[in-house]
Every structure is written in C-alpha cells, then in structure tokens.
C-alpha cells in the first residue's frame, strides 16, 4: 500500500504489522502525553520533586539523553571535519538518534520548568554567567543544526525527492554540510560541557563542585569528553538493536569497528581524566571544604561507594579495555557488553552529578534526601523513548538511512 514511499531496493515489513507496532508504542506515547498534560495543567505538584530535589529524574534524563545523543556530533565531526569517510554509512543514523535525543531533551525541559510559557525568558533575559543559559543557547542552536542535518535525509524520500525543489535543496545542503557539522561540533562541545558545568560550578555543593580552567570547571571538559566517548557507543547500540529487530545487517563490520575503536580511545582517555579528577576532588577539593570522600557515600540507604566503583571501573575501565583491544572488540558478545556498559556508565555519571548532588547533605545537621519519582515523572521520561522509537520506525521505513542496506540485503 505504501510501497511508493519505501526506498527502492529494500524490503520492509507489511503495512499492518508496521501500523500495529506504531499503535502499541503509540499507547505508551499517549500515556506519556497524558502525564505531560497533567504537569502542564496542574503544575509540578504532579511530581515527587521537592525543595531539596529541585533537579531530579527529568534533569537526569536530559543530561543522559544528550550525552547518548553525543554520537551525532562526534560522528559528524569525524566524518566531515576529520574526513573519516567510512562513517558516512552510519552518520545518518547517528544524526537521527541525535535529533531524537535533542528534541526529547527540549520537550522534557519544557515540562520541567515551573512556568513553561515563560521559558523564552532564558533567551530574552539571558544571564550569560549561568551554565544553564549556555546550555539553553547551545542546545537549541545545536538542535537546529541536527534538524538541518536531518532534513536532507527526509528529502531523500522517494516521493519528496521527485519534487525538484526538494531534490535540489537536499543536494545543496549536502554540499555545505561540513560547515553545518563544524558549527554543530562547536556548539555541541559547549553545551555538553556546560551541562557538566551545571553541577561543577555549584560551589555550595561540595559533592559537585570542581575547580577548573577559566570559567569552566573540570566537569565541563569531562562531560564533553564522556559524551564523545559514549555517544558513538550508543549509536552502535541502537544500530545493533535495529539490526536485531529488522533481522537485517545494516552497517558493515568495519564501520562499526572503526567507530568502536575511536570510542575506545575516547573512553580510555576519558576514564583516566575522570580518575585523576576524582582523586583530586577526594583528596584536595572536598577536604578543603570539610568533607571526607566517604561523607558523600554514607548514612543513607542508596548512595554507597559502590556507585563510584561501578561508574569508573565497571562502566569505564572495563569497556575501554574491551574497545581498545582489537581481539576483544571483534568478539560480538564483548563488543555488546562494552557498548552497553559505556552507555550505562555515562547515564550513571549523569545520575550522580544530578541526583546525588541534590541528595547529599551539606549543612552538618542536614540529612540525606532520597526521592522516588512519581508515575507522572516516569511516564514523561518514557514518552521520549516511545517518541524516538516511532520516529525511528517511520524514518527507517521510508528513508534511505543505511546506505549499505541494499548491498548487504539484496532482494531476490
């Protein structure tokens, strides 16, 4: 029925199955939309956030999905600026995943603020000294970059491509894509960094506070680095999941291997920097403010030192080693382990840098604040996942996302 829209030379599942899939995911989406509307109409009392937990699940989700969406900017940087041409076979998907992550982040932010109708104040009355301002500006600018990068792909749809204007537009945009990608990389570095800065500048919160370079705390650089390291892992992960669901090989192993190798180097170097940062913070910064490392990991039922070990050793060193050693990363099972661990690691890092910052007491007589999100928060956090799946389903069905698909899956 919709075969006219499906790219030439590839096979897609029958339309009813596709629609059924959309409907199933759509129900989850609607659940999220309902929660979102509740939050907008009734206010943030729908959440379990409180005055101790001003930043909670949503901000974590924002930080995490932006870090995971970091694959787009880093792959773009490698492809367009450093000229790693093989990556053109995965860049489309990286861009799509990035686009989903960033649009989701913006949506969550729009729910998260107390007065959504005033969100534009962040631009209009910008306080340039605030990390959040930097985040907002770079985030929205980079989102337009992603949109610009995604448009040519949409224009490649069989029917749209027939229209000369769109055909030429897509062609012309491809030609100048390097400029956009460069701008995107620049913006992305800054907002990934400033997201790190959000916690790092909080000098009233010894758990988060870091010294740094000029106006940027060390977390600024660590966040950019970790996003560049783990974003591509997430891109590979989603690619592998897509391959599994569609039952097709979509990207050649050498492309994956190249990206995995680069991720390995990034992750390895990142984790060394992270270890140095942690040691300096634990032995110099925190003690100068009156805290022992263990003060941040005791007297509560959740945040133990295990979280630091898991983040650095299990989700940092281990995947870095796997990705760096060719023998390991060429083992499928180990590769999957590594990319999953790396993705979890970066999410865990963001969790710690948002929620544990809020949970840890600062005043000597204050107590730990633990928090469990309300269903509305969970639903609105799942909402972007559902939205992402739907967008991927539609894009995959109607757009030539994987240039190698035709070659790898010839139709008899």
């Amino acid at each position: 029925m919709d075969s006219a829209l499906i790219p030439k030379g590839v096979k897609r599942c029958p339309l009813p199955i596709f629609i059924l899939g959309i409907v199933i995911i759509g129900i989850v989406l609607l659940w999220g939309v309902y929660a979102m509307i509740l939050c907008w109409l009734k206010g943030l009392n729908q959440t379990n956030m409180n005055d101790y937990y001003g930043f909670a699940l949503w901000i974590w989700a924002d930080l995490a999905i932006i870090a995971l969406g970091g694959g787009a900017f880093f792959t773009g940087l490698l492809r367009y600026i450093f000229g790693l041409d093989e990556l053109k076979n995965i860049i489309n998907y990286a861009v799509l995943i990035g686009f989903i992550c960033y649009s989701s982040a913006l949506l969550i932010l729009a729910i998260d603020v107390g007065q959504p109708l005033r969100s534009w104040f962040i631009f209009w009355h910008a306080n340039v000294h605030s990390m959040l301002t930097e985040v907002a500006f770079c985030l929205s600018c980079y989102f337009s970059v992603l949109a610009i990068e995604y448009i040519p792909l949409v224009l490649e749809n069989r029917q749209i491509d027939k229209i000369p204007f769109f055909h030429h537009l897509g062609h012309n945009m491809h030609k100048v894509m390097a400029v956009f990608a460069a701008t995107g990389a620049f913006l992305s570095c800054f907002h990934q960094g400033s997201l790190g800065g959000v916690a790092g500048v909080l000098y009233g919160r010894p758990f988060a506070y870091r010294e740094g370079l000029l106006v940027w705390p060390w977390t600024f650089f660590l966040f950019t680095w970790s996003a560049a390291a783990c974003g591509p892992c997430f891109t590979i992960l989603i690619t592998k999941i897509t391959e599994f669901i569609t039952g097709k090989k979509l990207v050649k192993d050498n492309v994956i291997d190249l990206l995995a190798k680069i991720s390995g180097w990034m992750l390895g170097s990142y984790i060394i920097a992270k270890i140095i940062d942690t040691i300096y913070w634990a032995t110099v910064t925190a003690p100068s403010l009156g805290f022992n490392l263990m003060d941040f990991y005791k007297d509560n039922s959740f945040y133990g030192i295990w979280i630091l070990i898991v983040e650095i050793a299990v989700c940092g060193i281990l995947p870095a080693v796997i990705l760096l050693v060719p023998k390991f990363r060429q083992n499928k099972l180990l590769l999957y382990t590594a990319i999953i661990l790396a993705s979890i690691g970066v999410c865990l890092n963001r969790w710690v840098m948002v929620l544990q910052v809020m949970a840890a007491p600062v005043m000597s007589f204050d107590t730990w604040a633990l928090y469990i999100p309300s269903w509305q928060e969970i639903a609105t956090t799942i909402l972007p996942v559902a939205y992402g799946i739907i967008l991927i389903m539609i894009s995959f069905r109607y757009l030539p996302i994987f240039p190698q698909e035709k070659e790898l899956n010839s139709i008899e």
Binding site: Q115, L117, R118, W120, F121, Q159, I163
Partner: protein, 727 residues
C-alpha cells in the same frame, strides 16, 4: 485549482514564513509573559492607606499587647505592641496567626439553634427570648441552681458578668477552667491564710530551679516568660530544669536533671531535707518559734527522706545534696513550679513543698524571688438584686463540693463536671452556658465529657468557632472573635509583679452576624425581667466596662493597657507549717497498673501548638515539626533504648494504649527523653473547626482521666501509664 501535495507544502511553508514575519508571534510571546504574571489564580491584594491599631490578644491567658497593621479597613498583620509590659513588641506564633481566626473558615456566622440534630438559623431576638423562657421554667420549677456555667477564666469582665448572671438566676454552680494559678492561690490560702497568688521574678534571679515549668514553652504568660529568659541569659543567671524530657526549656537550661515523671514533689522534699538539715535557710525566716517549724524539721531530717527522694526521683542523693546547697546558697534563688504551660493545677503536696523551698531562702517578695500577688479584683459592681428564688438557689452549696468541707479553699472541681452533667438526681446540671472554653476537648477523659454533655437539656455556647463543644450545643450565640471584640484582658500574675490590664478593642467591624457575649448576657438579663434585669442595669457591655474601670479607662482606651508596677504585691504573713505535716505525695503517681502499662505517657507542650480553647490556626499548624505531626499522624517521642526494648522503629506506626483509650501513632526516637517515658504533643486531634486543623493527630486529653488532688480536689491529671505495641 487542484491542491496537490506540492502546493499544499508550499502553502504551509509560505504561511509559516509569512506569520513569522508579522508581529503576531512576538506579540503572543509578550502576552504570555504578561498573562503568566497575572496568573488568574494568584490574588492581587488591594492597596490603601496603612494605619496601626492597638488592641490586646485574647487567644491565651498571656495578655499580650497587639498592634494591628491595617490597610483601609482590612487587618493585614498582627504585631506585638512595643512597651507593653508583657511582650514589648514580641509576638508568639498563635497570636500572629490570629488574623486567620478572624478571616478563616471556622467561624460561626450567625446565631444557630439545634433542631432535630441540625443547626438552623435563628434571630438574636428569638434566641434570647427562647433561652430566657427556658431559664424561667427552670426557676419556676425550683431548679435554678441547676443552671451552670463554664468559662475559660474567672478574671475578665465577661466571665464575671456570666457568673453574676447565674448567681442572680439562683445558682452557685459557676465553673472556670482550673490551671496552675488555682494551685498558687490554694497554696497561699493554705499556708498563709490570705487571698493571693504567686508571681516569679525570674529575670532578676540568679538561680532558677524549675520543676518542669516550660519557661520558654508557653508557661502561663508565654511572652513575658520568654523575655525573662533572655534577660536571664544576658545577666548570666543559672537555670536548672527538672523534667523527664529535654524540653526546649531544658535544652536552654544550664543543667537538665531528668526526673521520674510525677516525682517532682519528692525531689522538693529531698532538697528541703538538705537545706533544713544543713541549716542553709535564712535564719531570720524561721526560728524555733515559727509555728510548727520544729515539727516539720523533725519530719524531714531523717536520712530516709533523702534516700526515698533519690529512689523515687531517680536522681542520686549526691546530686540532690549538691542541688540543694547550690539553690540555698545562691544570692537570689527562686523555684518555679507548674508543669509545661501550667495548663493544669498540681497537687498541694508538691506545690506546698516547692513554695516552702522558696520561703526558706527568704526570697518572698524580694527582687528575683517569689512575689505574693494581690488577688483583689477590679470589679466593684453593686450587689445583685435577689428575689426568693435567687436566695433559695444561693443557699444551696455547690454541686461539685468545692468551697465547703475539706475543699473549702477550692473554687471549682471541674473533674466532677462530667458526672454532674450525666446524673439524673438532684445534683445534676440542666442548663449549661459555655464561654471561652471547650470542655469536650480540653478536659481530661474528653470521651466521657462528650457523652455526658449530651445529657444536658440546654447547652448554650458563646463560641466564635465551631469547636467540639459548640457542635454539641443547643444554641450557639456567637461572640465577636479576636480583633472584632471589646474585652478586658486581665494579666495573669505569673511573671508580672504589678497590676496590669489590657484592652482588646475591635480593629475591624464584625464580619458576620455576631454579638459581644457581654451584650448578649445583658440582653438576656433584660429579657428575664424582674430582679435579674435590675441586676444588669448597664445599657451595653461597653458602658459596663467603662463603669467597671472608671479611672483606668482612659489609659486603657489610649494606650491599650493600664499598668502599675509593684502595686499588687501583698505582705507576706508568717507561715504555718502545720498544713505541711501530713503532706500527700502519693496522688502524683500516674494512674494505671505498672504491669499492664509499663510506660508513662507525658504531654509535650510547645509554643507552636495552642492546647487550650483556641485551636491552632493554619500558620501555626504549618510550623509544627514533622517529628510531632506527620500527615495526619500523631508522632510520639521515646528513647531509642525503649524503642529497641519494645521492637519499635523510628517513623513507624505503633499503638498507644492507656487505661482511657487507644490511638495509632508514629514513633520518633529521641535521645532527649528518659527511658520508659512517652511524650505526646498536646493540642492536636481536633474534630471541630475546619480541614486545616481537623483530624490532625490525636487529642492527648482523650488518653488521660481526671485525678483529684486529695488536698485541693483540683484535677491534677498530667501523665498516665501507657503501653506501646507495634502496629
């Protein structure tokens, strides 16, 4: 033209681009800012000229002066009146929240009559004539004495008008809520045989020995006490707090001595033992000739006294000796007594001994000591006009037995009210007026009172609020509330050594169809006619007040208070020790069997919870800590060791049982409480009022029963035996 995909897309893009170029999106953004700033759910308070009005607080016996900030004719904020002898600009959380009682949703808005169990509107005129008719019937039947009245105090003009009214009708059965002041008066009467009360000059003392008095927890005149406390801190005075629990007062004291609940009297005896045995008392105070001192001396000097004191109180004898010496050797020591806020009287056994402790240090009527204040009333009304019925009624003795026989020095025995209300015989209450009091909530064993009051044929409440008792009334004749009404506010003596009266003046016009109770009584008297009308010759309550205060009225009207420092002290005659020879300390033991109820429940009183007639307004409820009230659950304090012993855990539920009832509570473990003791905040668990106070926590008074002091007959119920089990 055919609309194909292409033209549709171009049209869409064109429209979007076109709109972006118009001012529409920018205008909408601008509008959204304005709209969210004038969010329709957020009120915009009207402005106007700011003025200040002087009045006095009627929400507790403290008698603070108030300054109300007005914007046009709206009361905006309650502030303390500067230079007022009680509070000098300070103000407590309840007083501050008074504004919410005025404008809040708990008000009775018009006179109401109960018909078939439901309140219906009634006019003032009808209500008064109906009640007058019922009283006439009562008089005609010869049951005039069965009219009774319960008020919050017997010092203010309105309460005394009520007393005069029921006296004129022909009844002696006037009751006022009994407090620690009744114990003070009782002791003075007993040992000196004079009318008087006590006042403690804490701020000038250098050693304050407090037998559980919540000096900064709302004791009698809370603001005066808190201010005195600050002076003590400035001047370096020493405070020793004797209490089973680390109350705020104990926390701020220089020394906290935990004592077994109820054994404070024994400690006083132990201290007296030390002081008398070691002859540490002022020699000019007692000599061998002082009547019966020698007998008293011989009674207490055996070492068994000290040992027994140490055993009962749980304080070792060394500490008692040291404390006794320290107290006696201080330059200006004073011992203050009355537990917590002083809401309940204490037994003569304890009160008498602590008084002697003061007496022997020679601090009576001395700076920094204990002052005997004059109880002389400022009321000087003409005698009531009596008819035969009046005379017949007044010849009868009080139904509760106060003022006669062994209780001849006692004014009211409120603990017998429930029985009098329920009983069907001669000694029964047929009509009850209730003013500024909420017995269904505040009296011990409130469950019984709630049942008993239903047996009274005519209950008239003058309350401004729909409280527990008022809900059970047959008629509600709502008084103007605070900030609306004219009322004298006599100061309670504790802490104030001079004569002081403040005036509560209306700062706003009455919001609803309410009437000053003073005016209602005068109208009711006039409706009764005859000698009763003649006894109430005033044209209005205001003229009554003016004629009562005569010369003081100008000061009251102008400054809001009349103060004459030092005027009201009384000479201290010699002390008769004979009354102390057979002192009774046994009744202080908490009720209940130790085997069944291994723990002792004591009340916890704080400035943030009003535990009397007035319930906590929303602001005050808001500042109640979550270790006292969590959601709607009452939280009780116990020592972590006790918790461990009974398998109880912090923040978890438990069942609290006493001989009088059982409630579900939450546990809060706290190091600042003795093992085996449970502390529960008083003043919660209301069921009248509105959702901002209702159903929050449990009523402490429901868990205790009345305890009659064998000497005074006063209800000295305070703590009780209890048990906690895991829920």
């Amino acid at each position: 033209m055919k609309i194909d995909r292409r033209s549709f897309l171009s049209l869409g893009i064109g429209a979007a681009a076109g709109t972006a170029l118009t001012p529409i999106p920018w205008k909408m953004m601008d509008d959204s800012a304005i709209w969210t700033q004038n969010w329709w759910l957020t009120p915009v308070p009207a402005g106007g000229e700011v003025t200040y009005k002087t009045t006095a607080c009627t929400l507790c016996p403290g008698g603070c002066g108030l300054r109300i900030r007005m914007v046009e004719n709206r009361a905006i904020k309650v502030e303390g009146l500067e230079k007022h002898p009680v509070n000098d600009g300070g103000i407590c959380p309840i007083g501050l929240s008074g504004i919410q009682l005025l404008y809040g949703g708990t008000r009775v808005k018009m006179p109401l009559k109960k018909v078939n169990g439901k309140f219906v509107k009634i006019s003032w005129k009808d209500a008064i004539s109906e009640i007058a008719l019922k009283l006439k019937v009562l008089r005609d039947k010869g049951d005039a004495y069965k009219l009774s009245c319960l008020t919050g105090s017997d010092k203010d003009v309105t309460s005394l008008l009520l007393k005069r009214f029921i006296n004129t009708i022909g009844s002696n059965n006037f009751f006022a809520n009994t407090t620690i002041s009744d114990s003070y008066e009782f002791v003075i009467k007993k040992v000196h045989n004079i009318e008087g009360s006590m006042s403690f000059d804490l701020e000038n003392s250098d050693f304050i020995l407090s037998f559980g008095s919540g000096i900064i927890d709302g004791f009698v005149s809370p603001l005066k006490m808190i201010r005195a406390h600050s002076r003590i801190k400035e001047q370096g005075g020493k405070i020793v707090q004797i209490e089973p629990r680390l109350s705020n007062t104990a926390a701020k004291a220089d020394k906290w001595i935990p004592v077994n609940p109820g054994s404070e009297g024994m400690l006083a005896l132990g201290l007296l033992h030390v002081i008398v045995k070691e002859k540490l008392y002022k020699s000019n105070i007692v000599s061998d000739n002082t009547s019966n001192f020698e007998k008293f001396r011989r009674l207490i000097i055996p070492n068994t006294t000290l040992n027994k004191a140490a055993e009962t109180t749980g304080i070792d004898s060394k500490t008692i000796e040291k404390l006794g010496r320290g107290f006696a050797n201080a330059r200006k020591p004073v011992a203050i007594f009355g537990r917590g806020k002083g809401d309940s009287p204490i037994g003569f056994g304890e009160a008498g001994l602590v008084y002697i402790l003061n007496y022997l240090t020679g601090n009576i009527n001395k700076k920094g000591g204990l002052f005997i204040t004059d109880n002389k009333k400022y009321i000087n009304w003409p005698e009531i006009v009596k008819d035969e019925i009046t005379n017949a009624g007044l010849d009868k003795s009080r139904m509760d037995g106060a003022g006669a026989g062994s209780f001849e020095d006692t004014k009211y025995i409120t603990s017998r009210l429930a029985d009098l209300m329920e009983s069907k015989d001669q000694k029964s209450i047929s009509a009850l007026f209730i003013y500024n009091e909420n017995p269904c909530y505040t009296l011990s064993d409130s469950k019984k009172i709630n049942k008993a009051i239903e047996a009274v044929p005519l209950v008239v409440s003058f309350s401004s609020y729909l409280d527990e008792t008022t809900a059970k009334a047959d008629y509600i004749l709502p008084n103007h509330t605070n900030l609306e009404r004219l009322q004298d506010v006599p100061s309670v003596p504790s802490g104030i050594t001079g004569g002081l009266v403040s005036l509560s003046k209306p700062v706003v016009k009455p919001m609803y169809d309410t009437k000053n109770t003073g005016d209602v009584i005068i109208s009711l008297a006039k409706a009764m006619g005859g000698n009763i009308a003649e006894s109430f010759a005033w044209s209005s309550f205001e003229t009554c007040l003016k004629s009562t205060f005569k010369d003081q009225w100008n000061a009251l009207d102008k400054d809001g208070f009349w103060f004459n420092p030092g005027k009201s002290t009384r000479q201290c005659p010699d002390l008769d020790f004979s009354k102390l020879l057979d002192i009774n300390l046994s009744s202080i033991q908490p009720q209940g069997s130790k085997s069944k109820f291994p723990l002792v429940l004591i009340p916890k009183e704080t400035m943030r919870i009003s535990s009397g007639y007035i319930a906590d307004p929303p602001f005050a409820v808001k500042v109640i800590p979550d270790t006292v009230l969590k959601n709607n659950d009452q939280v009780v304090e116990i020592n972590p060791e006790t918790a461990k012993k009974y398998g109880l855990h912090d923040t978890k539920y438990a069942i609290l049982t006493t001989p009088f009832g059982e409630v579900k509570v939450k546990i809060h473990t706290y190091n600042g409480i003795m093992e085996g003791v449970i502390a529960m905040s008083k003043g919660l668990g209301h069921i009248g009022y509105d959702k901002f106070i209702n159903g929050k926590g449990e009523n402490f008074n429901r868990l205790i029963g009345p305890v009659e002091d064998p000497d005074s007959g006063l209800d000295i119920a305070w703590g009780i035996r209890a048990k906690l089990t895991r829920a």
